[in-house]
Symmetry: none
Subunit: 232 residues, 2 copies
DNA sequence: ATGTATTCTTAACCATTACTTAATATTGCA
DNA sequence: TGCAATATTAAGTAATGGTTAAGAATACAT
């Protein structure tokens, strides 16, 4: 994909910064739109459907964090990449308390070169597994009696190909990343669900059960009081 | 082991986050070094030989996953603890990290309290039962006729692998942490059950009995009126 | 949008294992 | 020997995980 295929939306209340960012990003060939506050940002985003949004954290009225929340709630934009622009080091401690759901944090003052390489890194990463041009994602990993194809969310067991739902797949991926090693329930939560998401105690069990149902009972062993481990 | 005995390396291209992390981790007494990209991270790691490395997944040039791969290839660092910093828990990048064999995943934005407790948990887990802190290279500990693998929650005795229940395992871990040394009943209570939990006098006996049943009568010796000791 | 299918989470209940205790036997030392 | 400390065994209790099905959330297709 070319740079010119990507749409980037900038939201900042400082006209100077907006101009500066816009100039440098356009120079690389990206399509750029701008907005000068959160409300406007959301409106433009709705029509422009950008691939990436750069949001200033500090804005009057609706700040970046709030805007980000709103954006994530909109189905057509829930998967857009969002980068926060923070002014100083104290800002990070401020947003540290929020479950903001940004994809990256960029701090001012910004050097154009750094900015561009970050945007590219974000876009590149987000595209992994979609246009499959990548090494890591396309690799099929064999562990014991099964093989895991990350790119296609597929598990090959003997002759059959099983397509697992996301959570099951991620759980399997985690456990199989270190066969034999015991993962505590906490580690599983953190790895598969993320630390901010709280789910009930039986949720993991049920997913383990589904995996065992599909892959055989012996693949995942329970260590009572400790956790689970993948064995081959 | 004290916090100040642990060395932690932070790798992130964002100076603010680096500073934020560094400040909060240093405050807890850990020794901290920083690097602002993957290449530098590897160089510092080689000299600093940290116990734990926190790697931002998203970095320009060499990203966290690549860096992790490289680190794991280096014999002197292949067993260092690695935690990935990911921007969003649902992000695909997190899944990509499963392959690289990270020990934990921490998602931004980071709350200092959560961060610290995670780091401690990781270090504690890796060090369980070992008071000689230099033993990072192997989670398997050989003592006399048996071997204890705390990562797999297994005891190897001759050819067979025994998986012990939690309390038994922890009791064994405690006694074997200092072979020959006599542990009083009180020390065992504190070490295995915790100071606040009160259990009857016979509880320890029963657990000792179970261990002897499984591992042989000679491994644990009773010193009447004093306590127990592990002998090889 | 609307309905439909899939996936995820929860709740209720069950089963198993681990842990503790109580009762009785045995040990080893003053 | 006698007695307190520990061993042993079995039985009771608690903790943890397993199972199932129903409901909520999500994605998907029309």
């Amino acid at each position: 994909m070319e740079n010119s295929d990507y749409k980037i939306l900038l939201v900042d209340d400082e006209p100077d910064i907006l101009e500066f960012l816009s100039y440098n990003i356009k120079k690389e060939g990206f399509q750029v739109e701008t907005a000068s506050n959160g409300v406007e940002g959301i409106e433009v985003a709705k029509k422009f459907l950008p691939h990436l949004i750069i949001l200033d954290v500090m804005m009057p009225e609706m700040d970046g964090i709030e805007t980000c929340d709103k954006l994530r709630e909109m189905p057509e934009l829930s998967d857009v990449l969002i980068a926060f622009l923070t002014a100083r080091s104290e800002d990070y401690s401020q947003i540290a308390g929020f479950d903001a759901g940004a994809d990256d944090y960029i701090s001012k003052p910004i050097k154009p070169k750094v900015l561009i390489s970050r945007l590219k890194a974000m876009l590149k990463r987000a595209n992994r597994g979609i246009d499959n041009g990548d090494d890591r994602t396309s690799s099929i990993k064999k562990i014991g009696p099964i093989a895991i194809d990350k790119e296609r969310y597929l598990v090959i067991k003997g002759e059959e190909e099983l397509s697992l739902p996301r959570k099951e797949f991620e759980l399997l991926l985690l456990l199989s990343s270190r066969p034999q090693r015991v993962f505590t329930r906490e580690e599983i939560y953190n790895g598969v669900w993320g630390e901010n998401i709280i789910v009930g105690d039986r949720t993991i069990d049920v997913h383990i059960r589904k995996l065992r149902e599909k892959l055989g009972d012996d693949l995942i062993k329970t260590i009572k009081g400790v956790g689970y481990k993948f064995v081959d």
